[in-house]
Symmetry: C2
Subunit: 185 residues, 2 copies
């Protein structure tokens, strides 16, 4: 084959990454072998190495994917014109948690303590998500609680911090609650 068109290439990359995420959720980052991923994705080792430099690179991509998907959910809320308050916001975030992705997310935290590249991804995604929470809470303070924008910005910071913390804790609980068995119909 000649060089694949960019769309196709990206498609293959996500196909591999998604298979990897499924494997990671099932067996963990390190206990997942390339062979597992080839089996899950239906591709071969050679093919995987044509798209990712090595396993670490693939893990990074998987981490980015999982974390990004979680962050995206937030974008919608902040933009709406009836922003939910902190409690409601937290409830919705928690309701949107997917157990499999929660597991990979928590595994990612563990890996981040050791691997600087993963650490940067996690920190970056966390900061970004907290910023979105901040926007969301500020919008609520202004539109619903009728605070001054300047004051709202200040007040929103610790609230966003707390919501983030409670959300992460819930993510951990979800990850621990569903050890390895779920056959969601």
């Amino acid at each position: 084959m000649p060089r694949l068109t960019d769309a196709r290439k990206e498609l293959r990359r996500t196909q591999i990454a998604e298979a990897a995420v499924r494997c990671f959720g099932r067996n963990g980052l390190e206990r997942t072998s390339i062979a597992d991923i080839t089996a899950e994705s239906g591709l071969s080792a050679g093919s995987i190495y044509a798209h990712y430099r090595n396993k670490a690179d693939l893990v990074r991509a998987a981490a980015r994917e999982v974390l990004a998907r979680r962050a995206d959910v937030l974008g919608e809320y902040a933009a709406g014109d009836a922003p939910p308050g902190p409690d409601e916001l937290l409830s919705r975030l928690i309701a949107a948690i997917d157990p499999a992705e929660a597991r990979v997310g928590v595994q990612t935290w563990g890996e981040a303590t050791t691997d600087p590249a993963i650490r940067d991804i996690v920190v970056d995604m966390t900061d970004r998500m907290r910023a979105m929470l901040h926007d969301c809470v500020m919008a609520w303070l202004v539109k619903v609680e009728h605070h001054e924008p300047a004051e709202a910005r200040e007040r929103a910071t610790p609230i966003a911090h707390r919501v983030m913390a409670l959300y992460q804790a819930e993510l951990l609980y979800t990850a621990l609650r569903s050890p390895t068995e779920e056959t969601a119909s």
Copy 2:
């Protein structure tokens, strides 16, 4: 040597476990080889296997040790006759966090998503710690806020839950903040 006296045997076990914890904090649970642990502990492979059935067994012991040490800190507070309020309690817990142990703790979470044995340890320790927090908050409600014991017991539950969540989030931040370098003099 004949069978070591129980005290000596336990000493060796903790010597190995502590070396393992140091290695885990530095390189992660899976990236730490038995060779690393022999180097860190000054013992040999044969010796390690005389005290632990296998590596998984050693990881379990290390997890227990780290989590137990964190839980122990709490015991003191609950027993004192001037129990700290939730905010003060959280501050003290956070102040007592050791970065190296935080890293191993977070790694343990990641492992728990995959390994049922580790999962049980983490869940057990978390429950135990939350129960201690509950006792502590209840003592505060009764002794300082002058609530009725029955009412205090009820009110303490969600508060303990929140303190636990915020503590765990802080643990995560600490683990991420200190990637691998600290040469505390």
